[in-house]
């Protein structure tokens, strides 16, 4: 399969359809779940999909394990290439890794201004353009509404798409809709997706879609064996 076809058939197109065209520039999206359910896998898949579309992605991490994150991207890429039987996979790989960068901080002493400054340096000195930023491992327990507002301004000023992961203490359920931990930040969050383990798979529930709060099953699932997002009821068309 060629790259174009791969982009067209990606299950993430369903996510875009469900959210009226996707996250959109200047907006913040959040993937929320308990620890170990698959937030990073989702984020890396979303980021990889952006990379396939020739967009540039910065993955900001707070974990200090850069090698680990780079490996995530490699694994997800290999898995997609295998599932799709991607043509010239190595060439595509060498092409897209130019557009990917991992930036590591310790959250304890990093401010939004600092992240912004480093990204600006990278854009100016490193000639790296940025469309999507993934912030994995951001601790919402230590966050403030003001700081989160800064992220929103940062996304809007630079027309970035900003994806966060949020680690919840417990599973959400259909009744509670927005997880209490995220409630204070909902004004700044455009898209909220909660990961729900149901049966063999982990389902992606859309909790907020731009101006509408609802709980709808997008009929997307995360297959824990391969850690890719896939369409429900289409076992064969996994990616």
């Amino acid at each position: 399969m060629v790259r174009k076809e791969l982009i067209k058939r990606s299950p993430l197109r369903i996510l875009e359809k469900s959210t009226r065209g996707g996250l959109g520039k200047g907006n913040i999206g959040v993937i929320a779940a308990r620890k170990g359910v698959g937030k990073t896998a989702c984020l890396v898949h979303i980021a990889t999909d952006q990379l396939f579309q020739e967009k540039h992605v910065i993955h900001v991490s707070y974990s200090g394990k850069i090698g680990h994150i780079v490996q995530w991207y490699e694994d997800i890429f290999q898995e997609i290439a295998k599932r799709y039987k991607l043509d010239c996979a190595m060439d595509v790989h060498d092409d897209i890794i130019r557009n990917r960068l991992v930036m590591n901080f310790e959250q304890a002493n990093v401010t939004v201004a600092k992240i912004e400054k480093n990204i600006r340096t990278l854009m100016e000195k490193g000639s790296f353009s940025v469309e999507t930023i993934v912030l994995d491992g951001y601790d919402f327990n230590k966050a403030t509404v003001k700081e989160f507002g800064e992220f929103r301004r940062f996304a809007r000023d630079n027309a970035f798409e900003l994806w966060f992961s949020a680690t919840l203490k417990e599973d959400t359920n259909a009744k509670s809709r927005v997880p209490p931990m995220l409630a204070p930040y909902m004004d700044d969050i455009a898209i909220l997706i909660c990961l729900q383990p149901r049966g063999e798979f982990i389902h992606l529930d859309l909790v907020k879609d731009h101006d509408a709060e609802m709980v709808s099953d997008m009929h997307l699932k995360l297959d824990p064996r391969i850690l890719l997002i896939a369409e429900e009821n289409q076992a064969e068309r996994v990616v």
Partner: protein, 694 residues
């Protein structure tokens, strides 16, 4: 009385350049009474530290060759291997690591865990060397051993635990609290030779107690006895030490010590730790490969009465001829013993047997199992195995990377020419990553190695040690050629111009492979190419790999399958089929969309955060891909992949754009495709050169 192997330690000192490793070695020699005066690395007295045996190292303030030296501490025999600190000499480091039983990882209390420490640590892990860490330079401004300990955990993934708490820091650094004995240690005398135990200063009491709890928490998992005793509040010093030792030997725990070698503080407790926690040769498991049994792994036994198995890990050109450093893994060795060099099959008698001090030596009659000693006048190469009693064992061959850079050299006069070949012969025996050959076409002597600095050092050594004046060309990157498309070929070689004719036809498929350089598959059926000529075809194809047609570099990643052909009862010969294969290869190669590959290096730049922008820009200018950036408080690190061709002279550039405050390391990562514009440039250069030669 037989020598007790449990009192032997073979240790190395591994560290980042400039973290004070040579100074530390020097102090160790001093306290063990091996030397009678202390010299600094960049000594004002012009003498230099004793471990830096080579003049050049003295001048540059770095250690290139690993000298082994034997010292005694608390009735333990310690063989100390001073390992080089620069990444360009990693083969030297790795070779030294191969023979170590334990290591001291030296870190700078200001610089902390830097990119080179990560490389060195990875090497220690590869050879499963247990280690203790020593945080040096605690007297420097900005010293923060606590941060360095955290970095050991975070960046290197060690289970690091402080064994001592510093008393004061920076210029107030006075000594340390031993968390096992709960005593403060101070160092008196001109050179800190008198260690004094005192009560813990009142203001440090609480901190020390908290850190001791941390220590016991961390190590009690290695000893149930300690865990139980601790619950009852009855833990003994011995129980803690035993638990720490177990943790270290399991490669899981890194006890951390603090001090400043330069100011003579903390070296003796570190020596105690070496004796206490690092393994003896018997605590480690070593294996040999049985060459008579399909290279099956055979465990070696660290017993004196077993047949001897030893490894030559270092050759040195001494004043009295070639000196071969060996490590005895099994059995013992005495003068007059007969050994066999497994590689060459030659036997020899052990003549002079010596134990080395940095630049003096002591003649000995015998050496016990586990020891590191040197032999005189043995003809061998670095990495050879010596064995006794008919054993056909080889110690695992070390991982040797392929050179990535080459340089043409020319002697300025006849005298230099003679000495140059002597020097090259010596260096390539000493260092497997250094190679030299004479180019068949240009008749130039080409030397190859792992980086610019690597080759520079050898050129300097030629000048100093062999009086060779040479001219050098431009450094040349080791490019490769490869194919990208599957093509079929069908070629007939026919020659009938007088005498016996030549006839051979080969047909098949040429296609790219990724996991190896070359593969040959024979699918000939019905004998259309007679059996005896199949290997001729293989030979012919192989001959083509040496030189590609785009820019004249070796071809890699080609799979050839032959499935058809034809022969002639009279005119077919070995030569005819070789030529047919060569013709077929040329025909197919041109159509298989060949492309050029170049070595891509993994580059890490580290320095103060304010220079991150400049570092990023410098990578961007060099066709580099930035993989990641990392920042903590003041230090920033940029990891990138950059083509080697763009890295020439980078150290000078980096110095100027960061005011000398940043440093970088570089190692080979992989081969990558050369972009089209650069390809054209290379092809043009190659054609011009070809024209010139014609």
């Amino acid at each position: 009385m037989a020598f007790d192997i449990s009192t032997m330690r073979n240790i190395g000192i591994s560290a980042h350049i400039d973290s004070g490793k040579t100074t530390l070695s020097e102090r160790i020699l001093y306290y063990c009474n091996k030397i009678h005066a202390i010299h600094e690395v960049k000594g004002k007295d012009g003498v230099g530290a004793t471990m830096d045996s080579m003049e050049l190292e003295r001048e540059r303030g770095i250690t290139i060759a690993s000298a082994a030296t034997n010292v005694e501490w608390r009735k333990h025999s310690i063989n100390l291997i001073d390992t080089p600190g620069h990444v360009d000499f990693t083969i030297e480091v790795e070779r030294a690591l191969r023979v170590l039983d334990g290591a001291v990882l030296v870190l700078c209390s200001v610089g902390g865990v830097q990119s080179q420490s990560i490389t060195v640590d990875r090497q220690l892990k590869r050879y499963k060397v247990p280690r203790v860490a020593f945080i040096n330079k605690c007297d420097r401004a900005g010293a923060n051993p606590y941060r360095v300990k955290e970095q050991l955990c975070e960046k290197l993934g060690h289970n690091a635990v402080l064994m001592q708490v510093p008393i004061g820091l920076e210029e107030k650094f006075a000594g340390m609290v031993d968390l096992v004995t709960m005593k403060a240690l101070y160092f008196d005398g001109d050179h800190g030779e008198d260690m004094r135990e005192e009560q813990i200063p009142a203001d440090l009491r609480e901190e020390a107690e908290a850190r001791r709890v941390e220590l016991i928490d961390a190590v009690s998992m290695y000893s149930d006895e300690l865990a139980e005793a601790y619950l009852e509040g009855k833990e003994t010093e011995e129980q803690i030490r035993t638990a720490v030792r177990k943790g270290v030997l399991s490669l899981d725990l890194t006890p951390v010590f603090v001090g400043t070698a330069y100011k003579n503080k903390g070296v003796q407790p570190l020596l105690d730790a070496v004796v206490e926690y690092l393994p003896s040769p018997r605590d480690r498991k070593y294996f040999a490969l049985d060459l008579d049994n399909d290279e099956a792994e055979i465990p070696l036994e660290a017993l004196d009465d077993k047949p001897t198995v030893a490894l030559a890990f270092k050759l040195e050109d001494g004043h009295y001829g070639q000196l071969t450093y060996i490590r005895i893994y099994q059995g013992s060795l005495k003068k007059g013993d007969e050994l066999t060099n497994i590689r060459s099959g030659k036997s020899f008698k052990v003549g002079r047997l010596v134990r080395m001090h940095a630049s003096a030596m002591e003649d000995i009659q015998s050496a016990p199992c586990g020891d590191i000693v040197a032999l005189f006048g043995v003809d061998c190469a670095s990495g050879d195995t010596f064995a006794q009693g008919g054993l056909n064992y080889s110690l695992t061959s070390m991982f040797v990377p392929e050179p990535v850079i080459s340089l043409a050299i020319k002697p300025k006069d006849n005298k230099s020419a003679d000495n140059m070949s002597k020097a090259l012969n010596r260096f390539s025996k000493e260092d497997p990553t250094f190679r030299s050959h004479v180019d068949a076409e240009s008749k130039e002597t080409i030397i190859r190695g792992m980086g610019e600095l690597h080759l520079d050092i050898y050129i300097e050594r030629m000048k100093r040690e062999y009086n060779v004046e040479i001219e050098t060309g431009q450094p040349q990157v080791a490019y490769r050629e490869t194919i990208t498309q599957r093509v079929e070929f069908d070629y007939t070689h026919r020659k009938q111009s007088g005498g016996s004719g030549q006839y051979g036809r080969v047909a098949g498929i040429m296609e790219p492979i990724h996991d190896r350089d070359y593969e040959f598959i024979d699918e000939i059926v019905g004998g259309v190419i007679p059996r005896e000529f199949i290997s001729s075809c293989d030979k012919g194809f192989k001959a083509c790999l040496a030189r590609g047609s785009i820019i004249g570099f070796p071809i890699v990643g080609v799979k050839i399958t032959i499935n058809d052909g034809q022969s002639h009862s009279v005119d077919s010969s070995d030569m005819a089929f070789q030529l047919a294969a060569i013709g077929a290869f040329r025909q197919a190669y041109a159509r298989a969309r060949p492309e050029i590959l170049e070595p891509i290096m993994k580059v890490s730049i580290e320095g103060p955060a304010e220079f991150q922008g400049n570092a990023l820009a410098s990578i961007n200018q060099r066709r580099g891909i930035i993989i990641s950036t990392s920042e903590d408080n003041t230090f920033s690190r940029v990891d990138a992949e950059v083509p080697l061709a763009e890295m020439f002279g980078f150290s000078t550039v980096l110095r100027s754009i960061t005011q000398g405050k940043a440093n970088f390391t570089m190692e080979f990562a992989r081969y990558g495709k050369v972009p089209a514009s650069k390809c054209e440039e290379l092809i043009k250069q190659y054609q011009e050169q070809a024209k010139k030669r014609a």
